[in-house]
């Protein structure tokens, strides 16, 4: 947060033309809420991926949420799900942008964790692009320094 990178002035050779690499800084923040906060705190303190279970339809939502989208029930039952799962789909992003959490290329994936009923959007690492496939088994890799952020999971690596 708030790394102030000064504008770079690039002087083109032999042309007396200056090119400015500008950067408009847009700081923003959001609060994760009661349920989201608990989900992130469990990631940070216990390296556990938690979901909430619907008492009516028994769906387990990961990441945890407070209301069931199907039955509109209040979800107050917390369950731990496995850190292993199956890749539902994936995409390789090679174009670098300033909003990405890590340098490109990034493999984004939707991961169906064992014990959950929803897909979790995250990154897949330590993988060769040719070996990526739908249905691949992956496991969460946690960071050493965790700050209650979804990126406390570094990525999912293939099993």
């Amino acid at each position: 947060m708030s790394e102030h990178v000064a504008d770079v002035v690039e002087r083109l050779p032999d042309a007396d033309v200056f090119v400015y690499h500008g950067r408009i800084f847009i700081p923003d923040a959001y609060t994760a809420g009661a349920v989201g906060s608990k989900f992130l705190i469990e990631l940070r303190d216990n390296k556990r991926i938690m979901g909430t279970k619907c008492p009516a339809c028994s769906r387990v939502y990961v990441p945890a949420r407070s209301t069931c989208t199907e039955c509109f029930e209040q979800l107050d039952q917390w369950v731990e799900v496995s850190d292993k799962g199956t890749v539902l789909t994936y995409s390789i992003a090679c174009q670098p942008t300033v909003a990405q959490p890590v340098p490109a290329p990034i493999v984004y994936g939707i991961i169906h964790l064992d014990g959950a009923d929803t897909g979790l959007v995250h990154m897949i690492g330590e993988v060769e692009f040719e070996k990526l496939h739908v249905g691949m088994r992956v496991q969460a890799v946690f960071k050493e320094q965790r700050t209650a952020n979804i990126l406390d999971i570094k990525y999912f690596r293939p099993l």
Partner: protein, 160 residues
């Protein structure tokens, strides 16, 4: 009646930044001005071949005659006369980085000795003394940064 304190939960706030990057090229004519300011601490501009007036800022086309301005480069004076000034006390923020700029912020329209009007900062920060500021001269930054008029630190009061 007893008042029970609910156990307080820790709430997580996630801060993030999505900076927008952009490129801006000075072009050849402004580039000449920026180069002279950076390398030689000089202000230059070009002259219209038709009306013989100085074009400011230097440009490929004369805005009055709509003719190609050409390469008749003139060095301008770095001395001038204060036409008007404003003494801004309100703190301003850099829109790019959210940092506060120093205030007060005396800014003046300066008529250079070549007849070109320019808006820039003044060194004099005393609001009473500002009223009597007439003649000023540009003070350049020690190291040119290639930022054109941004290479001028401010205009200093001179006695003549």
């Amino acid at each position: 009646m007893t008042t029970e304190k609910k156990p307080s939960q820790e709430f997580i706030k996630i801060e993030y930044a999505q900076p927008r990057t952009y490129l801006w090229s000075s072009g050849r004519y402004l580039g000449r001005l920026y180069k002279e300011a950076m390398d030689n601490k000089k202000l230059v501009t070009n002259r219209c071949p038709k009306c013989k007036e100085l074009i400011w800022p230097p440009s490929a086309v004369c805005g009055r005659c709509k003719v190609e301005a050409g390469e008749d480069w003139v060095e301008m004076s770095d001395k001038g006369t204060v036409i008007q000034y404003t003494y801004l006390v309100f703190p301003l923020w850099d829109p790019h980085y959210g940092e506060k700029w120093a205030n007060p912020y005396p800014t003046a329209t300066i008529k250079l000795d070549n007849g070109v009007y320019m808006v820039h900062h003044l060194e004099e920060k005393d609001p009473e003394k500002l009223k009597s500021v007439k003649r000023v001269q540009a003070v350049w930054k020690e190291e040119g940064q290639g930022r054109g008029l941004g290479d001028i630190l401010y205009f200093r009061t001179i006695e003549e």
